[in-house]
């Protein structure tokens, strides 16, 4: 990790979990958002720097068709979400990436757009993948209404009433985004163009800002439609109900290959979180304020586990684990945990490891980090990655060293028999349809000849076998000249040697692999809650639920 040399707490190293424990899919699939999650980093910066909000354009008709601009003034200049509302027939509403029309479409613009910018964006943003944006744009996204709740809220507000609270809690959002593209997609600014700007240097800050402003758009839109329908009878959404609404997100396999294709980035995310946990465990004492903060966080985790609903059997089992585990944790904390003894956080963590299911362990991790902002928030700055700096292969490395790397970091992979159908049942591929990543059944579907290289374990094993015939002192350059087919995994292995959390230590083509575990890990780093699988490879989540709105912060009447 790039920040290693500046680590102010080397004593935490003794408390770190090993990659062999952390980088397993079942545990990654229990990830909870923490205060290091990207949306939390954004909200902290917005607050600390006093970003000011306004809405210079609101040009919407009675059906919600039109355009709006949501602007944040940051110390580094303005950033504006340009929103387009559309009239979408129900039969065209699909969350899938292969959809071609949406209820609303968005771009995050670098600066304040003028009329010509808005016209240019109006000609392209509603087309999404079929349009083009420019380096002035930092993200491109779209959202669909959660129809039942959206209509209910508009109807109620239009007649002067507040919406049903149970319905609001159950769904939790008025719209869900179905794709948020950043980092150079469709002509937008490359990551390298914005990575040097403090406001955007942490991962996915442009995307998170876009979603946060989209949330404000969704509540503005229902109030606008209610006024259009109800006139003077219409009321605004009660602030506490409004605050409980987030933005949904509906996502599928498109997200999964990202974690595999960005090993240095994944390492830095994981390493920051693990270092944060280790720092907390390394604390010799716990003061009263920190303990109070922990109790608050734990209570919030219990409430979250109660509110969190899913109809999917896998998730229902996990929610049972979470609720049961948190109940035991609360009891232990109340009756047995000796907070006056040395290293109380480590004591708590060790008890949890021995007594709680994985879901509750990872929830405890998030709760333990919560009251330790001063200790860990700086790690957020270590979660980006200069991936190009780690792209080159060290060809001078002798084969004996490469072998040792495989033994140390790919032990989970190199002894597996990948000719066994259970160990190679799946293949990842890109569909012709909008280039959507998908997962196929090797023995039942065509297309395995176009398989993506996400079979990291199988590739490591193939390299391991190839190395058997090589002399110890053969340089990697010589090996790759003769065997270019091992170039990708050799690069990964060299990266993994320097970045121990770079590699997911599970077979990603196994019959029992669950893609939603990959999604949950990535989405937790975004800060997502209410993870709700709709299949083993498709999920809905919520972002920014219970967070402030842009107009909640820095109002003139704020205390």
């Amino acid at each position: 990790m790039t920040c290693e040399s500046r680590n102010p707490m080397p004593q935490a190293a003794a408390f770190r979990r090993s990659p062999a424990q952390v980088m397993r899919l079942d545990r990654m699939g229990c990830s909870h958002p923490t205060r290091l999650s990207f949306l939390r980093q954004l909200l902290r910066r917005v607050e600390a720097e006093g970003w000011a909000f306004d809405r210079p354009v609101w040009d919407m008709d009675a059906r919600g068709v039109g355009r709006a601009v949501y602007r944040m003034r940051t110390p580094g200049g303005s950033l504006s979400l340009v929103a387009f509302g559309h009239d979408l027939p129900a039969d065209q509403r699909s969350d899938r990436v292969i959809a071609t029309a949406w209820d609303a479409t968005f771009a995050l613009f670098d600066g304040t757009p003028d009329a010509a910018d808005l016209d240019r964006l109006a000609a392209n943003v509603p087309l999404q993948e079929a349009g083009r944006v420019t380096p002035r744009e930092l993200s491109l996204s779209r959202a669909n209404r959660s129809v039942r709740l959206f209509n209910h809220v508009v109807e109620r507000l239009a007649t002067g009433r507040q919406p049903d609270e149970t319905m609001l809690r159950e769904t939790g959002y008025l719209m869900r985004t179905t794709a948020v593209y950043g980092s150079g997609k469709f002509g937008a600014a490359d990551r390298a163009m914005i990575a040097g700007r403090p406001a955007l240097s942490a991962p996915f800050q442009a995307e998170m800002l876009s979603v946060w402003l989209t949330r404000a758009f969704t509540t503005d839109l229902v109030e606008h439609l209610a006024r259009a329908r109800g006139g003077d009878r219409a009321v605004r959404l009660r602030p506490d109900l409004r605050r409980g609404l987030g933005v949904g997100n509906s996502t599928g396999l498109g997200m999964a290959p990202f974690l595999v294709r960005h090993p240095v980035l994944l390492n830095n995310w994981m390493m920051a979180r693990e270092e944060a946990l280790a720092r907390v465990r390394a604390q010799e004492t716990a003061d009263a304020a920190t303990l109070a903060g922990f109790h608050t966080a734990l209570a919030a985790a219990v409430q979250n586990a109660t509110d969190w609903q899913s109809a999917h059997p896998i998730q229902q089992t996990k929610l049972g684990d979470l609720q049961g585990g948190l109940a035991r944790l609360e009891k232990f904390v109340a009756t047995e945990w000796d907070t006056a003894a040395p290293h109380p956080w480590d004591t708590l963590w060790r008890w949890a490891q021995a007594h709680l299911p994985m879901e509750a362990q990872e929830a405890l991790l998030a709760a333990m980090l919560e009251p330790h902002g001063d200790l860990i928030d700086g790690l957020g700055a270590c979660m980006q990655a200069d991936e190009e700096a780690h792209f080159g292969i060290d060809g001078t490395m002798p084969v004996s060293d490469l072998r040792a790397i495989l033994q140390e970091h790919y032990d989970w992979a190199i002894h597996t028999d990948y000719s066994d159908p259970a160990h190679c049942a799946r293949f990842w591929y890109i569909s012709e349809e909008k280039l959507e990543p998908r997962l196929g059944e090797r023995l039942k579907e065509d297309g395995a000849n176009r398989e993506l290289p996400l079979d990291t374990g199988r590739q490591a094993a193939a390299l391991w076998h190839a190395l058997r015939n090589e002399a110890d002192d053969t340089p990697v350059a010589r090996l790759l000249l003769a065997h270019p087919e091992h170039r990708l995994i050799t690069r990964r292995a060299q990266i993994a040697a320097r970045h121990p959390f770079a590699e997911i230590r599970d077979n990603l083509i196994a019959a029992d692999m669950l893609p939603i575990d990959l999604l949950r890990c990535k989405l937790a780093f975004f800060g997502a809650t209410r993870f709700d699988p709709r299949s083993d490879r498709w999920v809905r989540i919520s972002l920014f639920q219970d967070a402030p709105y842009p107009d909640d912060l820095h109002r003139e009447d704020a205390p």
Partner: protein, 237 residues
């Protein structure tokens, strides 16, 4: 069932109203050339190098996608190098510039690679493709390197940055002898080429040809493929 989209509209399609070029971001150039190289039959690891090289060239002011496309059109007939100290001799076929480039970077610091003294590589086709790799070698060696052929020479400093130079009016496709030599004390360029220009406008024909190669790695849709990809239920709830 939704009609399948035209996949050519999903990646890097042009605006429509200006058809001569399409402006791609560097990450799009990388992804396009990565997929195109794989579609042309290269291994995944080499395809990654091709994508990276295309973006590097574009950032350095060259028409990266055009250079990569030119090489891919000839790639099947080109040979991998046989590194040996001082001179990499060509045999029946001209050298593949990507495999030569990758080997130049991989062998940096080894007796066969760039570093001590001049290294001559015979008959490298599309030699511009090797530039990013010589830059990587310079970085790995922490040593300035020059690379040249015919009337063309550039200096790459120890950070892999390229000096400004005048580009000869040729397309640099034909195989040529290239020479790589250490420059222990290269003159500090007033402006490096990296800071001077980024070229991301891609000729429509080049983009279409690369996209056609990239589409070779995609799988045609089937009912089974569609069925597994989305939510189990309806999205209108």
């Amino acid at each position: 069932m939704l009609p399948p989209n035209d996949p050519t509209r999903s990646a890097s399609a042009p605006d429509g109203h200006q058809a001569a070029t399409v402006r791609l971001s560097l990450s799009e150039i990388n992804a396009l050339c990565f997929k195109a190289a794989r579609g042309a039959g290269l291994g995944w690891g080499e395809a990654e190098e091709a994508g990276w090289a295309a973006a590097w060239l574009s950032r350095a002011g060259f028409a990266g996608p055009k250079i990569i496309l030119g090489w891919l059109e000839d790639a099947a007939t080109l040979a991998r190098p046989a590194p040996s100290p001082d001179r990499w001799a060509a045999r029946a076929h001209a050298h593949c510039p990507l495999r030569t480039g990758a080997a130049l970077a991989d062998f940096a610091g080894l007796p066969e690679g760039p570093g001590d003294g001049a290294l001559i590589v015979e008959r490298v086709a599309h030699p511009l493709v090797t530039l990013p790799f010589v830059a990587r070698a310079a970085g790995r060696l922490d040593l300035g390197l020059s690379i040249g052929w015919a009337d063309f020479e550039v200096l790459l400093d120890a950070a892999g940055r390229m000096s400004a130079f005048a580009m000869p009016e040729r397309d640099h496709r034909e195989a040529t002898v290239i020479t790589i030599a250490p420059k222990h004390d290269p003159a500090t360029p007033g402006a490096t080429r990296h800071e001077a220009a980024t070229v991301t406008a891609v000729a429509l024909g080049d983009w279409q040809a690369l996209d056609a190669l990239a589409l070779r790695i995609t799988v045609p849709p089937s009912p089974q493929s569609r069925a597994g990809a989305g939510a189990a239920g309806d999205d209108n709830d």
